[in-house]
């Protein structure tokens, strides 16, 4: 394993922010795994650190194929982590809506431009990120509909779901969108947690990456075949919004199968404790996304459901 400097951001009074890549194997730049860009994505940071640990062990066992190189970038925004900020720098900007960047513009676009130049040399880019919302979701691979997305390849991670999303204008500045081209494929992996560490979810994410690398002939590794992924379009998920705001008491978990009419959550009046709203399932299906904060606004997304999908 080699540690390489990918980008250095200078600050007058802080240590330089060094973005480092952990490189395994040599030769063809096959897969680049990119860690969190927001400073509250602790789970994603942990997954990448454990992936570096695992690949270090595997490299010693000689499992990386000849002429194949893998790079893991565990974190691209250490400044934010160290100050418990979500975004980058004094302007509080989201790195993952600033790609592909350049070498002449604002600090953030120089950072993304510098990183993108290195990442784009790889055939497969796998990013660990999370939703902005305070929520949990079922582990899945997400692809942006760019015209180059290859769902069959996304299936090779063996995660339960592959979700394809039509890009909004802001999505066109994500790493995933810009890495999805004629010559490279981009996958974003969403795991259940974000701000909490979840060991089971970490192991599942590492297995998914190793499974993909094995199936692409980048490593030689025996692993469980995983799932044959259920492929969804993002717009096919059924959104369940709250009608009332208050204290949120969820009754179901992500990944759980619910039946029509089943109670999914209560919204409680924060002053007198009365129940303001009972959220009940409007359809049979799987809970794909679930709000997991104690408070909730009116018309906030409480759940996203995979309609009429059974266990």
């Amino acid at each position: 394993m080699q540690i390489v400097d990918l980008y250095s951001f200078k600050s007058i009074y802080r240590d330089d922010m060094q973005v480092k890549g952990y490189v395994f194997g040599s030769g063809e730049k096959s897969a680049c795994i990119v860690g969190p860009s927001r400073g509250n994505e602790y789970q994603q940071l942990y997954i990448c650190s454990q992936l570096v640990k695992k690949l270090t062990e595997l490299e010693k066992l000689g499992v990386i194929a000849n002429d194949k190189q893998i790079m893991v970038i565990p974190c691209i925004n250490e400044y934010a982590f160290n100050l418990s900020k979500d975004f980058f720098g004094v302007k509080n900007l989201d790195i993952n809506t600033s790609f592909p960047g350049n070498d002449y513009g604002e600090p953030i676009t120089r950072l993304t431009g510098g990183l993108f130049e290195k990442i784009k040399e790889y055939t497969y880019e796998i990013q660990f990120t999370s939703f902005y919302e305070r929520a949990q979701c079922v582990p899945h691979v997400r692809m942006t509909e760019t015209g180059y997305q290859n769902v069959s390849l996304a299936n090779l991670f063996g995660l339960p779901y592959v979700v394809v999303k039509k890009p909004l204008p802001t999505d066109t500045a994500t790493l995933n969108y810009n890495m999805s081209t004629e010559t490279s494929s981009a996958f974003t992996i969403y795991t259940k947690a974000k701000e909490q560490l979840d060991e089971k979810c970490t192991n599942s994410a590492i297995s998914a990456v190793l499974r993909f690398l094995t199936r692409m002939g980048i490593i030689k590794y025996e692993c469980h075949s995983g799932y044959i992924s259920h492929v969804l379009k993002d717009e096919d998920l059924t959104d369940v919004y709250t009608e009332k705001a208050g204290i949120f008491k969820g009754k179901v978990e992500c990944g759980e199968y619910v039946q029509y009419g089943q109670k999914m959550a209560e919204i409680i009046n924060p002053f007198d404790g009365s129940v303001l709203e009972e959220i009940v399932a409007s359809t049979d299906g799987i809970v794909f996304f679930a709000h997991n904060s104690a408070l909730i606004n009116q018309y906030e997304t409480a759940f996203r459901m995979v309609h009429r999908l059974h266990d």
Partner: protein, 311 residues
Amino acid sequence: MKEIVLEYELPVGEKLTIYRNRIMPCSEINSPGRISIVSGTHGDELEGQYICYELARRIALEPENLMGIVDIYPAINPFGIDMASKNSPLFNRDLNRSFPGSSSGDLIDRVTSGVVESVLGSDLCLDIHASDIFVREIPQVRLSEDFADNLLPFAKLTNADMIWMNATATVHESTLAHSLNILGVPTMVIEMGQGHQINKPYGDQIVDGIFNIMCELGMWMGTRPRTQLPAISSDGSVEFIRSEKAGIFIPLTEHNHFVKAGDIIGEIFDPFIGEKLMDVVSEQPGLLFTQRIYPVVSEGDLLARILTGAF
């Protein structure tokens, strides 16, 4: 008349409410024109607060001269203003990257779509911004070349110092201005001053421009203010000067002054070791219309913009 544009519940007692002040003509008018003034999209940009006040105040002095409807939206991101935050603190997102929204979506979608729905039907909309806390700007209109044919005649009436065609992300998709222009409401972005500040002369200048536009639209029968014709520029005639060092910047020229090629317009130093790190030099002659105010800089930070070749 103070009207509620939209109102949503928050978890603990409070509501998110966006108001507008609708000022009607004193007498009944067939098919009156309508102009909308929107401000406070970014909570740290306060220049629009004075413009909203001054516009309403001057109309109230001679209401008999008003021949159309004036809708004033001083704060479409009220919590951002309360917390001096550019982003909406409710969503930790830039409201001006979330338009046009959806009336059946989640809360941020309903907020942005509610604003758009409310402004629809206007003959013209001005989206008033300030600069951020880092740079100071002269009063300027920013518009996309896509809509220039429609907007340029209005932009020339604003009494701004310049019109910048196809300038920045301010005019891009997902903004209020882009969404309204697509939906048929001619909308211009006005940018001036700096964040967290109010520059009264700039505000008076733009209010004169608004009355000038209202005269042109037949909505104001009072005295037409004397106004200037703004300089018109495209991206190609603007020189961007950025920091190449992390350090402390001090300007050595006045904002809104002409500079010659080779003029030293500022310097960056390291206070720790007492060393000047670089002179900041203009490469072309022109009007220094953007000037760095916030002294701490990193590589890539904007120090100045110079309008060249338009004089």
